[in-house]
């Protein structure tokens, strides 16, 4: 399983990571190596069973009741940029 440069760039775009050219080359080789190893292993077995849900925990809900939470100050304390009680980012819509 050899990944092309285009495939690696596509994955990086999906993952929202701006890789350098050197990294694209490196990851292309490493990912190809790793995935080839897995291909080899996976093709040896036919597996068509339901996925596992550990401890059979499904549909775990909490009561629909509001509880005390954090202050705006606490939540903004780690913000890279904040203004007027809001997180500040570059425009989302052009």
């Amino acid at each position: 399983m050899k990944l092309t440069r285009d495939q690696v760039v596509h994955i990086a775009t999906l993952a929202r990571i701006k890789l350098t050219e050197a990294e694209i080359t490196m990851y292309s080789e490493q990912l190809s190596d790793i995935l080839s190893n897995f291909d080899e292993i996976l093709k040896r077995i036919d597996a068509n069973v339901d996925p596992l849900i550990l401890n059979e925990l499904t549909g775990v809900w909490r009561e629909d009741k509001a509880k005390p939470s954090y202050t705006q100050e606490q939540i903004l304390a780690n913000a890279p940029q904040a203004e007027d009680g809001c997180f500040k980012v570059k425009a989302v819509l052009e």
């Binding site: 994955i11 701006k18 790793i34 996925p51 939540i75 780690n78 913000a79 890279p80 980012v89």
Partner: protein, 473 residues
């Protein structure tokens, strides 16, 4: 555990802090040392002990892996992405330990975002193995393992997604426990692989592990994967008697790449268990063991790619400011903030989940997971516990596997399947090869930590590996 009558928590804490000062320049177990907080807590603990309100952990200096949130104290996950992140809340395990009167010495080093097997992937420096400074301590909980091995903490917490408590425990000659999935709350543990992660103790001996587990285990409504089962007193399981316990030794864990000296140490340890009265059956088979590596390295990165999508430079963490648009800044933030191994795993995970590949990779891995789990269940209908080596080799040299990801991943073959199945696993010191530690791994049924602790403790009483300490020259 120390008898608190003979020494105060303040004296003990001061001693350990001084020792950290003297040794951490070389070892680098700690990312952050919380001296002021530790001394305040020690004072409070001494008052509490005098008032007769102590728990077994009151006043005992401990370290916490730096991927668990500690309110008001930097929590970095050893990543530039969270270099200055100060959580506004405590992880549930931290809250519980605080309630029991913990003295927090600091936050320990790890592979970035818990991704690695050597602690070489930390953005803030390498942690060294105290038994040989040129070798890795294992990972990702390397800092915690070394802190305990080198007496820089009396116990520590680590996290284990694919062996990250047990493997470094084995490499550093300390006890490490990964509890059953759902036994300990993950609230406040920075998520890596949410269906695999568990928090657990690293300690000098099995009794201490039982004491820490007593304090941290239990249902938590803040963790929807936490199981509402009562927590027994795990110390009561340490009877010293393992007569009649049926132990299986799965042959697939004695891989080709296993060092023959390590094999000898493990075989001696298993024979000791037989000598203690357990029924040992060699060469039983867990035929799906070979598939665990691929299963793990598809599921874990897939879950990681989803869990790490939150690091976008918006609400907290690193932001690269030099960029023209929202996407440009986000992509540069993640490029700058994450290290190579983290990016590698995000890429593998993204690929495995992407359109056209989801069925071949992720869905298949999930099916394999059920088959592996069923195989363990079958084994546990015949055996009370399974025993294996923790690692096929002694700790490897720093840099030895850093450039070959596949080699690094292969070093975890003995520990990975346990997270896939969600069962508990304990690593105990079982000897040395050329002065380098070898760990013995004991596996149990879900929520049967009592049996594996009992076996580990019984073995410990008959050997003295856990009393050996590194020279720290």
């Amino acid at each position: 555990m120390l008898k608190m009558g003979q020494i105060s928590s303040v004296e003990l804490t001061k001693d350990v802090l001084k020792h950290i000062d003297n040794t951490d320049g070389k070892l680098h177990s700690y990312v952050t040392v919380t001296k002021g907080i530790a001394l305040d807590q020690a004072h409070a603990a001494d008052k509490r002990i005098k008032a007769g309100k102590a728990t077994p952990l009151t006043g005992i200096p401990a370290a916490i892996k730096d991927n668990m949130c500690t309110m008001g104290i930097k929590t970095t996950c050893s990543s530039r992405m969270l270099e200055n992140f100060v959580p506004p809340y405590d992880a549930t395990v931290v809250k519980k330990l605080n309630e029991s009167g913990m003295v927090l010495l600091g936050k320990t080093n790890l592979d970035e975002f818990a991704m690695g097997s050597s602690t070489e992937n930390s953005a803030f420096g390498i942690t060294k193995n105290p038994w040989d400074y040129e070798r890795v301590p294992g990972g990702s909980s390397g800092g915690s393992a070394v802190a305990v091995a080198a007496d820089q903490a009396l116990y520590a917490l680590g996290s284990d997604t694919g062996g990250s408590i047990r493997q470094p425990a084995g490499f550093c000659s300390v006890v490490g426990l990964k509890p059953t999935y759902g036994r300990v709350s993950r609230y406040g543990l920075v998520a890596f692989g949410s269906s695999l992660d568990q928090i657990g103790p690293l300690t000098r001996d099995v009794t201490d592990t039982a004491l820490v587990l007593n304090a941290i285990a239990g249902y938590d409504s803040c963790d929807s994967t936490s199981v509402d089962k009562p927590v027994p007193d795990y110390t009561k399981a340490l009877t010293g008697n393992i007569k009649g316990l049926r132990i299986g030794i799965p042959k697939e864990y004695f891989v080709d790449a296993m060092q023959s000296d390590v094999k000898t140490v493990i075989e001696e340890a298993i024979n000791k268990l037989k000598g203690l009265g357990a029924t040992v059956e060699w060469d039983m088979s867990l035929s799906l063991t070979d598939y665990a590596l691929a299963t793990y390295y598809l599921i874990a990165p897939a879950e990681a790619s989803a869990n790490l999508a939150r690091y976008d430079g918006t609400k907290y963490g690193h932001r690269t400011t030099d960029g023209d648009s929202m996407w440009d800044i986000m992509e540069k933030t993640r490029e700058d903030g994450f290290g190579a191994e983290v990016k590698r795993r995000i890429m593998i995970g993204t690929y495995a989940l992407s359109a056209g590949y989801y069925d071949a990779y992720y869905k298949k891995a999930q099916s394999l997971r059920r088959l592996i789990w069923e195989e363990f269940n079958q084994a546990f209908s015949k055996y009370d516990a399974l025993v294996t080596p923790t690692s096929p080799t002694v700790p490897f040299k720093l840099g030895e596997k850093a450039n070959d990801p596949m080699q690094m991943y292969l070093s975890d073959v003995c520990v990975l399947p346990i997270n896939i199945a969600g069962i508990p696993g304990l690593s105990v010191p079982s000897g040395f090869v050329d002065g380098l530690p070898v760990g013995l791994q004991i596996l149990g049924k879900p929520f049967d930590e009592e049996t594996i602790l009992r076996i580990g403790h019984a073995y410990e009483q008959e050997s003295d590996w856990h009393t050996k300490k590194p020279a720290l020259k």
